[in-house]
Subunit: 148 residues, 2 copies
DNA sequence: CTTAACTGATACTATATTGATATCAATTAA
DNA sequence: TTAATTGATATCAATATAGTATCAGTTAAG
């Protein structure tokens, strides 16, 4: 069971790169090279993040992408929702489509509890937090800590 | 993001059925009908659970499947591992294949923490616990509470 | 001792998801 | 004017998920 797909994985890395260069534009190409992300794949992810108002773009020469939303306001939960759909434990088993007596389903209680625990754990992790951790590690040993 | 696939979903239901009939054999057919699980699909899941010593089978007429392992010892985490692979947050990002400087990767710490939280939450939920919850609900209202 | 109800094993199909690549138009700084 | 860029799609391959079909072997029961 893989919790983060490449989509989300790459998106986190790209956001960390942009958050580190806050206030200036960075091209998809440079992000792709810096973090070893397939270029065209990355571009689609960036477009998706624009649509969700996490970042903005500027076209043309010297264009690129820039952080828009406060990195502390971007949670891993949000990124999972964007790229993998909302966190839910079981698609059909405990939901109205299939579960006729939803209210009485004893499993549902457990499932909902876990669902909220998983979500809240991922909500604790923001791009801002990750960036600070990364910068702290770099101060201790400037060459060792990188994202990937 | 779907945490439980049909495999795991159906396996849980089948185990609850077998746990409820502890000590006697139950055919794949009757489990399939009772819980509305595709018959041939279910049979593969049952075979897999035999391989993992959760249940045993008896061939021939009046044969079927029976609980082997103590239901309280069967966790949802185990079932996820069997049918969806070990719970891991990111397949490649933070693992040796890709992550060269694994020890210094600052994301890794967060990721491992979440991984263990998710795992331990699912470990709290055993087939035994679910069955007791189910039986308790049936005592309150004998017709309302079912698995699906 | 035959038959029907079973499991064991495996092959197959369909669909969805994931990961990746390619193309071309539009924009813009130099 | 041109080269570097994003915007928008189309396409493809690999893998995972969900489900179906088939046939051989086993066994209880008539």
């Amino acid at each position: 069971m893989k919790v983060l797909t490449k989509n989300t994985d790459y998106a986190i890395r790209a956001l960390l790169a942009l958050a580190a260069k806050k206030g200036s534009y960075m091209s998809a190409k440079s992000i792709a090279i810096e973090h070893d992300i397939p270029y065209q794949f990355l571009r689609r992810l960036l477009q998706e993040m624009i649509r969700h108002n996490l970042i903005v773009s500027k076209e043309g020469v010297r264009g690129g992408f820039m952080m828009q939303k406060d990195p502390d306001e971007i949670t891993v939960t949000q990124l999972i929702e964007i790229f993998q759909g909302k966190v839910q434990v079981s698609e059909c088993m405990f939901r109205k489509q299939i579960c006729g007596n939803r209210a009485n389903c004893v499993l549902r209680h457990e499932i909902m509890r876990i669902e909220s625990v998983v979500q809240s754990e991922f909500e604790k992790v923001t791009i801002g937090k990750l960036l600070r951790d990364l910068e702290a590690a770099n101060q201790v040993n400037p060459t060792a800590a990188t994202i990937s």
